[in-house]
Symmetry: C2
Subunit: 197 residues, 2 copies
């Protein structure tokens, strides 16, 4: 199963916090895939959540309720938007190549939602990279994160996501069957095992 | 628990088909409440689902998968948008006053999704009103459905929905706690019983 996400997404915090355990318990293997952002998928000009809208208010409360249910140590309200999700995506893409990607993504979300330090900002990068591997050469990673090579890799992945029909984060893809939203993770896992809901 | 909806909503088909049984099994009472449409709640200028968008494609497939899981006799693809959801809302509002509202709503959705006859059109109205009560004076109902009294009632309910922070259909409200989407019906029921997820 492919787990597609982008580091600016708030609901993805819930998924990142639980997908490893859920998938392991079900015996389903998960590949983490990163896309640039929702606007790059849909061509929309507006972000999914805008200030002072009922949907934004609901998103914040919905995540709070579900984080409490999951027993996560999140503190509310969390900062939104994060300072530099695109840089966080680029760093995560390097991490996926080098093996520390999943741990970095988990750490970046933890610092965002548990300590109020948003993804992609200098402090989040330093803390999350230190958490996921002692002795990381952070200067090397941040330099590589600005390279065309990494930008191109994310753009290619984003085109792939668009081709799959994705339009939001998190999404799960099993044999081209798309499931959108953290609350559909169990459905996606079930589909991976049984080919139906 | 209040179940808020609007008759143009596609996902509401799933809820209408199952909420009675789910709520009865849980011992939770449900009041059906109707609002005008999503745009009246949010002030948005675009419908939630636009032709040739990934979200539209997903919505159709998502409803199909979930209808199959629920064992509903829906046939796909279903027509969308329905011909006259506003008229269906007005008729349903009369029905809620007179006691045949829930049966009308179920019948209207059944004809839309099982027989491809969209809500609010002449044929759907005739079939659904006949289904829910033999001997209905359809001409009386259709005339009343054009009255200021009914239009005002829906407008007032829509203002109430907006005040609650609603932005989509179906929504469930328990002590001002809002749950959006058919896939959150169980959460809403759980909240009604336990005050938490």
């Amino acid at each position: 199963m492919d787990f597609w996400f982008t580091m600016g997404s708030t609901y993805t915090y819930l998924t990142v916090s639980r997908i490893e355990n859920v998938a392991r318990a079900a015996g389903v293997s998960v590949r983490m895939r990163i896309f640039k952002n929702v606007l790059a998928l849909t061509g929309a000009v507006q972000l999914p959540f805008l200030p002072d809208t009922p949907k934004m208010t609901y998103m914040r409360r919905d995540i709070e309720r579900r984080a409490q249910k999951l027993g996560l140590a999140a503190s509310f309200p969390f900062p939104y938007p994060a300072p530099n999700p695109q840089r966080a995506n680029r760093v995560a893409t390097i991490g996926m190549r080098e093996g520390w990607g999943p741990a970095y993504v988990r750490a970046a979300y933890r610092h965002w939602f548990e300590h109020g330090i948003g993804s992609g900002g200098d402090e989040n990068l330093r803390l999350a990279l230190t958490d996921c591997q002692q002795g990381h050469d952070i200067a090397r990673i941040l330099a590589l994160a600005e390279s065309n090579e990494i930008v191109d890799e994310i753009n290619c992945a984003t085109e792939e996501a668009r081709g799959l029909g994705l339009f939001g984060s998190p999404s799960f893809v099993v044999n081209k069957e798309v499931f959108w939203g953290d609350d559909h993770l169990e459905d996606a896992i079930h589909w991976a095992k049984h080919g139906r809901l």
